[in-house]
């Protein structure tokens, strides 16, 4: 490479950029490869870092050495201008054949380096892992905690009128029963961050007192009792629920939403027939009453799935607030939030507010 004095930049001599990952290790990378990442490019141009080992560019925390290697492979391939689209696609397809954990880390790292094409590529791969799978499969793929209560799962928006859904519900119920037992043991272990329990001691006491009787006959009375009590603690319960963390593992709330179609009846009536959860929803007691409740829930849910939208909407709108949270709405929380009935777990917005169960 004997160039004359005029040649200042010798094409044969590569220039390198020094990068430092969060764990402290430093490596050097060919300049054109590293500059493919917008974040590195900016660092070099704006701060002039990266030219030597001492001035290595610190990469964001989400980029660990292994992932950095992968990213650099990607950059190394794609920064070559002459490649055809087909070549790039083939490379991409092979590139994302990684295990799930690596794929997630890669997405995160690419995002922090602002490498948009790679973020799109990995997101698409992750989306492909999600689409068309059942919730259990997805949870298994990504190690997601199955921490929704049973009623929360009765949320699917789609109007499914076929049986598989009911079957899935039954499966969920069966699992939930088991989990409730487990959960009781782990009750003190906070899996979910938001487990704010602001209920007053009174509530807890009254709940304990009120929740003893299992007989359905006693329900009406209890309802009344609870309703009266309800007036006293409007805000707490609602805020609890509003946060969407119903980590009490109660099956009780399961179908309160589903009951809205029945809300045409009088206030108390609403509770009596369906919500004997007040009784049965003592967590660890999966007694026959509760089981029956659950069955009824499924039935009711199925019925609601089949009910006609406009009629219910009309009902909901016309009856307005009072009907909304009927017995529970006495504390004025029953603003007509979401009376969209059935599977739209409207209960999330409504029941929490005033569900007598909340008085725990």
């Amino acid at each position: 490479m004997s160039e004359g004095p005029m040649a200042i930049v010798k094409p044969e001599m590569k220039s390198y950029i020094w990068l430092q990952t969060a764990d402290g290790s430093i490596q050097q990378v060919e300049e054109e490869v590293a500059m493919f990442c917008p974040m590195i490019c900016r660092e070099v141009l704006q701060t002039g870092m990266g030219s030597s080992k001492n001035y290595a560019i610190s990469l964001p925390q989400r980029v660990n050495p292994a992932i950095l290697g992968l990213i650099l492979d990607y950059c190394r391939f794609h920064q070559v201008p002459g490649r055809s689209n087909k070549e790039r696609k083939t490379f991409d397809e092979k590139f994302i054949r990684l295990d799930t954990k690596k794929l997630c880390e890669l997405t995160s790292a690419a995002d922090s380096l602002q490498l948009r094409p790679l973020v799109d590529l990995t997101s698409r791969a992750l989306a492909r892992m999600i689409e068309g799978k059942t919730p259990e499969e997805i949870r298994e793929t990504f190690h997601l905690p199955d921490d929704l209560t049973e009623e929360e799962k009765l949320e699917p928006l789609r109007n499914m009128t076929d049986d598989p859904r009911i079957r899935l519900l039954n499966r969920l119920y069966a699992r939930k029963r088991k989990e409730l037992k487990d959960r009781e043991k782990m009750k003190n272990i906070e899996i979910e961050e938001e487990h704010v329990d602001e209920r007053s001691v009174d509530d807890l006491l009254s709940y304990i007192n009120g929740g003893d009787g299992d007989s359905k006959g006693g329900r009406a009375n209890k309802n009344k009792k609870k309703n009266r009590r309800k007036k006293d603690q409007p805000r707490n319960s609602s805020s609890n629920y509003e946060n969407g963390n119903h980590k009490n593992g109660e099956v009780d709330d399961v179908s309160s939403p589903s009951k809205f179609s029945k809300f045409q009846a009088s206030a108390s009536a609403i509770f009596s027939p369906k919500l004997d959860f007040d009784d049965g929803d003592i967590d660890d007691e999966l007694d026959p009453a509760m089981k029956e409740e659950l069955d009824r829930e499924v039935e009711d849910f199925a019925r609601r799935l089949n009910s006609v939208w406009p009629e219910r909407m009309h009902d909901i709108l016309s009856l307005g607030q009072e009907r909304r949270l009927a017995p529970i709405s006495m504390n004025g929380n029953g603003s007509l939030q979401r009376c969209t009935g059935d599977e739209l777990a409207d209960w999330q917005f409504t029941t929490p507010l005033t569900h007598p169960r909340r008085a725990k």
Partner: protein
Amino acid sequence: MDNVLGRDMISDLPLSIIETILTKLSIGDAVRTSILSSKWRYRWATLTQLVFDDKCVSLSNDSANAENNLVKFVTRFLFLHDGPIHQFALSTSFSHSSPDIDQWLLFLSRKDIKELILELGEGEWFRAPSCLFSCRKLTRLELVRCELDPPLSFKGFLCLRYLNLQQVLVAPDVIESLISSCPLLESLTLSYFDSLALTVRAPNLKYLILEGEFKDIILENTPLLVAISVAMYMTDDIAEHFEQSSSCNFDKFLGGVPCLERLIGHIYFTKYLSIGNDLGIIPITYSHLKIIELYQVSFEDMKEVLVVLRLIVSSPNLQELQISGSSNASVAIEAPDLDFWEKECPSDYTLNRLKTVKMTDMSGVPHEMGFIKFLLGKSPMLDIMSITPSVYVTSGKLNMLIELVRFRRASAQAEIVFIQDQV
């Protein structure tokens, strides 16, 4: 749950990534993620780009039922949605009852929607409610099979950049005022309009696509236009109009587009341009025009031939040319002025940038061959000239080839490719 021990990999990714992933799922799948875990409960509810189509709901045999299901799904989804909505796209083969869509549009108009795409079914066309015109932040509007009737107080979509109307029933003057009242409009597509005499006044317009039965197209104020694609259909009505026309269409259409880079004309486009071409010529040079594609050019019609010539002569920087003929080979006996091309064009004119020429559906008509000869002689940088004879030409192919071989080529590296069999 033992899942707690195997660490959750995905839920803690930044929200923007989660949203990207959810956007790549069908909307039904995205909603279904609500059941996965507590963190995923409402992740779907903050999506800003909503794309609904018939696949969102489970297919059922009963189309009325399916239609109901879709309506329910969209309504409930919107109701549960939280946060701004930037894009709403609905593509369905049902023609929904208006009240539902009206309500959705009202809801969306309050959410500062930016991109709205509505493609509805064949039945009775949906009549756009007035709340559509109060979507102030709209940057993109695509409507298929609708009726538009803006209220009198409508002053235009001030942010609109992209407008695509297909099979939309709207009064002609309304269309014109709609276009001119959108000052930022960059791309305009109008398809399947009937008998429209259109004047386009859009100072920022860059891309124009027109397809339909147009009586007249006048580009009055479109100085920034970069690409034009026009397909003009013919009806008796329009043919009559053409006969009676007394102005130069070429000037009206291409008179004010100095920045033009790409011109594509289908079907009766050249015929349209040929009308009135002999009346007054505005000498414009399209110095940026790089690509010209003209389809169904009838080389037997002298007027159309003149249009082609005029375009070529006005585009010194042309790089790519594609022309498809539509002549009737059997009629090509008459021998018109064969030196026409050489005569009409300034002798020192060369197409210095022309690299690719593609002639398709060639019937061997004298003017076609004359044109090819002309091009070969005037393009010193030509790389490829490909010629495809029309399927109706059987015995004439050999004659075409014989003629071709004789033509002088200005470019030493020019390849002439005669494509025999089109599969």
